[in-house]
């Protein structure tokens, strides 16, 4: 009999993120599919009662929790100790978590500690022949596999955005408190805080409807034989202001910055999409001045509608990677587009 535990951490305000509800939805679906399985919930955070109450109506038969000031911050040693304690208390055989940066850091270590196995970046959780099975991508989203395991506990991190969120109602949850004995060694690391660009300079917006990708062409010589980097910067930032799109970049453009060249100063490696960058999820994506080669476009796997503007009619986008390719000068198109969006 499988004991399915959903592990989640609270956010800074004590709530559960949407990704936690997505993991709960996936776990509940598995729980329904596997006869005789039971569903449990484990929560970690400074104060977890409000989070537990917010999903009290879910079909979990028991709630476990680790709370206190030591568990407010995202830190490997304390999170690993807390997660391991809850998994042991719940005697979980399947542990489902949202693949947040906090869980991604710690989950494989917890699996190792408890003698289990782990799968991350999971995009599907199903039942096959009475056993759980998962879907995940290999080689940077180039191929998809369906796998199952005999080892338990099996830790599964669900990629945010890959599942619907559960709509469990609120209520009053009874949470069994799990004790965690922290040692001095668990607190050698102090989390100081977060660092982010100023609000108006933050160009990475995971919740945006549109991904706007800038390729190296923006910094290359144009038809007049000159580069127009300041103009490119103005056009791109104006477009972001109008659309609130999330800004991505191909590796080549980011690397130019890394090599000390003064190009598009608002781009960093965090904006990079593809082989050595991120694979974001947005409803739409617009690519400009980018060739659409495979190492970049593997990062577009989860972009539903794709359009591109490129001067090269034979670029990668034309070979089945975009829905529409506009063969045109992106500088000219984007200026006109900004005019329209600004009206």
């Amino acid at each position: 009999m499988e004991t399915i535990l959903v592990l989640a951490h609270t956010e800074a305000d004590g709530t559960l993120a949407r990704s936690a509800r997505e993991a709960l939805h996936a776990a509940r679906a598995l729980n329904k599919a596997i006869a005789g399985s039971q569903l449990l919930v484990g929560l970690i955070g400074e104060n977890i009662q409000a989070a537990a109450d917010s999903i009290a109506a879910c079909p979990a038969t028991k709630f476990f929790g680790v709370s206190g000031a030591d568990f407010t911050v995202s830190r490997y040693a304390t999170d690993a100790a807390a997660a391991a304690a809850i998994c042991q208390a719940a005697q979980a055989t399947i542990v489902v978590v949202p693949a947040t940066s906090r869980w991604n850091r710690v989950l494989p270590g917890v699996a190792q500690r408890l003698g289990g196995r782990v799968d991350t970046h999971v995009t599907g959780l199903t039942e096959a022949g009475g056993q759980p099975a998962i879907n995940r991508w290999y080689y940077r989203q180039r191929m998809e596999a369906t796998i199952s395991r005999t080892q338990r506990p099996w830790f599964i991190a669900i990629d945010p955005g890959s599942q619907p969120a559960c709509e469990c109602g609120a209520g009053t949850a009874t949470v069994a408190s799990v004790a965690v004995n922290l040692t001095e060694a668990d607190q050698r690391t102090e989390v100081i805080g977060t660092r982010e660009p100023k609000a108006d300079a933050q160009t990475i917006r995971p919740d945006a409807h549109l991904l706007f990708v800038t390729g190296a062409g923006w910094t290359k010589k144009q038809a007049d034989g000159q580069t127009h980097v300041p103009e490119a910067e103005k056009i791109i930032l104006e477009f972001l202001k109008h659309t609130r799109a999330s800004l991505g970049s191909s590796k080549s453009l980011v690397d130019l910055g890394g090599e000390g060249q003064a190009v598009l100063p608002f781009l960093s490696h965090l904006n990079q999409i593809g082989q050595t960058g991120s694979t974001p999820r947005h409803a739409k994506g617009l690519s400009t001045c980018c060739h659409g080669e495979e190492p970049h476009t593997v990062g577009w796997r989860f972009i539903n509608e794709r359009r591109a503007i490129s001067l090269d009619p034979n670029c990668g986008w034309a070979r089945g990677k975009a829905d529409v390719l506009y063969v045109a000068d992106a500088f000219k198109v984007m200026v006109k587009l900004n005019e329209l969006l600004g009206q």
């Binding site: 040693a77 991604n104 395991r149 050698r188 796997r301 034309a318 089945g320 390719l325 000219k332």
Partner: protein, 269 residues
């Protein structure tokens, strides 16, 4: 405070990202078509970890960098011909599969065993580096398991910056959601860092470094321990390429005004 570090970088090898990859079923499970024929490169994020390690070692006199790598011996040799010219390191090689379909826990066990064989390893000076994910399995799981096996509980993933404080403490920037970094301060080694991109460009080839490295690389390859990864308990029901190939509409004959209007309508839809 001047600390000499022992920096162990775990780095796999992966097919060159420009290659077309196709899965096939082999007697031992899924594999890549013509896998042994595909040109290989050092895993990109692990490469960043190596360059950061070398930079740290350069700025902390007395430090040393080891590169621990698991892969087919012939492939490792091919990759080392390039990598060895970048930064100084001593290779610890394991002769085994570099496939993305191998089990992270088994790879972690093999890497840990190899690390533990490094003579004179001092845990109070030990920093274990690696990529936060690979370009093959892409799980971001192996490093944490290596850390657990070595008893290191100060672990960081998605690291973009490491700064050594005057007191020997380590200030570390890790990537978190929404384009932000979490800032942490660790008292010092031992620690494990899974690197994202970092801040350093790829070093230019330096033949002198290459000559020095190759003196130890070739013997390390010759005595690379054969490593079998059984994939116990793991079953692949299928491995497939994505079926979706878009019917791209190529628009060549419209003015910038017309294209802009079409895109604006699409964005606002």
């Amino acid at each position: 405070m001047n600390t000499a570090y022992q920096i162990v970088v775990c780095a796999g090898i992966v097919p060159d990202p420009l290659q077309t990859l196709e899965p096939v079923l082999s007697p031992t499970g899924p594999a890549l078509k013509n896998e042994m024929m595909l040109p290989a490169v050092l895993d990109p994020w692990a490469g960043h970890a190596l360059y950061e390690a070398a930079n740290l070692a350069k700025n902390a006199p007395g430090s040393k960098v080891w590169l621990v790598s698991l892969g087919p011996k012939a492939k490792l040799q091919q990759v080392m011909m390039t990598v060895a010219q970048k930064v100084p390191f001593e290779l610890v090689a394991l002769d085994g599969p570099a496939s993305g379909f191998t089990e992270a826990a088994e790879v972690a066990a093999a890497l840990t065993e190899a690390i533990q064989t490094i003579p004179g390893l001092d845990k109070s000076k030990l920093l274990v580096f690696g990529g936060w994910e690979s370009a093959s399995r892409g799980a971001g799981a192996t490093m944490q398991m290596v850390g657990e096996r070595l008893g290191i509980v100060d672990q960081f993933q998605g690291v973009d910056q490491l700064t050594v404080g005057a007191d020997g403490s380590l200030e570390i920037l890790e990537r978190i959601e929404g384009g932000k970094h979490q800032v942490s301060k660790c008292a010092g080694p031992p620690a494990l860092l899974g690197w994202a991109t970092g801040n350093l460009p790829e070093p230019k080839n330096n033949p002198q470094i290459g000559m020095t490295n190759m003196r130890t690389v070739m013997p390390a390859l010759q005595k690379a321990k054969p490593t079998k990864l059984a994939g116990e308990g793991l079953a692949f029901a299928s491995v497939t390429l994505p079926k979706q190939l878009r019917e791209t509409k190529v628009v060549k004959d419209k003015s910038p005004e017309e294209i802009a209007a079409e895109i604006a309508e699409w964005i606002n839809k």
